[in-house]
Symmetry: C2
């Protein structure tokens, strides 16, 4: 048994329904988006065209609940702590198991999660403010539009981490090694260029203080595909519940390039 | 004959005494510092302790005028366009040949030059403002002290290039690949943290305009060892004349890591 499989098994048995941040250290976690086949083709194209917010770790075969390439014994219907079910863009349920809602035409998308690069930053002595404070990372809608694909379109969402200039340079180098989990920052230092008027008013997550000797550093965020998909209001969509990620068998370091 | 050897030969024959920027494209150029052996040991240690401003491409044997590992047929007494001779920290001559001043106890240091990373930036579509304007890069003394070594000590000198946030992130990634030519920036965005009060008043080189949508990005500068050595006032030191570099046989790309 690996730590990753332990978490998935505990979820499957209904014994764990909490947040996965910090669990199964060293294993990559993933955002989940499930769509019926009719919508999945457009979403696949959307991810292909927007790899910074939507880096695909795996896409299942139609109807198949197992992401063979990243966790060959997993079942996406049971192995996440908690799910969100969206009908026409509206949240209608937050179950711990979606077996009874499964459809033969479902396609599951596993999208890289910033936990991987955050632990790389922490190993380099660059802690994240929101982790120190025990809150969610602040996230902002930007004035940058994602490349549209079929019915999917919408603004890029970014996460923000305040860093000193020296740490910001190191963070660019470190996170650039992980393109499958959002990679290098998309912006830094001048939030007004992104259409962000007030860093203390995030659109998602929690505000964190920025010191005078720090710059705001912005990464493309895995909330983007959910925000876009929710706005586009597909008849049915299932995602992970915030912070309750799918734990893969991929080692964080297997995602590093260079 | 390579383009690099052509330049060196023209210098040796006294046919070329100008600046080398843009010449022998693809070949790495180097800063030169020559010191008597008595001072060279301290300076070698200084470079070892301060690799960002003083990345050593080669150090010759005592008395030997040829840097075998970077240009096996070169003669450092003749193969630069122009030299500067310093006595007790004061500039006393600027000859095109130092054969008649050569001493058996001279040790030559070849230090990486930012031309290599500037051409990598240009290939990535990130031009340098000072090159566009045809002036020297602006350089500033900072409040960061180099690690002292023996008699050598002094402040870090940085060069500044204004870049948009998106280009700044790319520039960190690109220049990080070239640690032997100063590598990634040492700072960005908050010049006051470096003790730089006015970006329009560089200590060396020329001022360049910074647009509202740009951040100042700072790299450790090869002027640091010259500035330090000049301040320490060794009895005798010979350097290249500004912009009149030694052209090596090293390909720029052979200096790239990762």
């Amino acid at each position: 048994m690996t730590a990753a499989r332990d978490i998935r098994t505990a979820c499957r048995r209904g014994e764990f329904t909490g947040q996965t941040s910090g669990l199964a250290a060293g294993f990559a976690q993933a955002n989940l988006v499930i769509l019926p086949r009719d919508w999945a083709d457009d979403f696949l194209l959307f991810c292909q065209r927007n790899p910074k917010p939507c880096p695909l770790l795996a896409v299942t075969d139609v109807g198949g609940p197992t992401p063979d390439t990243v966790a060959a014994d997993a079942d996406l219907r049971t192995d996440l702590p908690r799910y969100r079910v969206w009908k026409n863009g509206e949240l209608i349920a937050e179950p711990a198991d979606i077996t009874d809602r499964w459809q033969d035409d479902f396609v599951s998308f596993l999208i890289g999660c910033s936990f991987t690069f955050e632990s790389a930053l922490e190993r380099a002595g660059i802690p994240a403010r929101h982790i120190e404070l025990g809150v969610n990372v602040p996230m902002f809608r930007t004035n940058i539009l994602c490349q549209p694909a079929g019915r999917f379109h919408g603004p890029l969402v970014v996460s923000m981490r305040p860093l000193t200039p020296v740490d910001a340079v190191r963070a660019v180098q470190i996170t650039a090694r992980y393109p499958d989990v959002h990679g290098a920052p998309v912006h830094l230092g001048l939030p007004e260029q992104l259409g962000i008027a007030d860093l203390s008013q995030p659109d998602f997550g929690d505000a964190v203080p920025i010191r005078d000797d720090e710059l705001p550093v912005f990464w493309a965020c895995g909330v983007t595909p959910q925000a876009v998909a929710t706005a586009v209001k597909p008849p049915l969509m299932i995602t992970h519940s915030p912070g309750c990620m799918f734990v893969t068998d991929l080692r964080d370091e297997s995602l590093a390039v260079g």
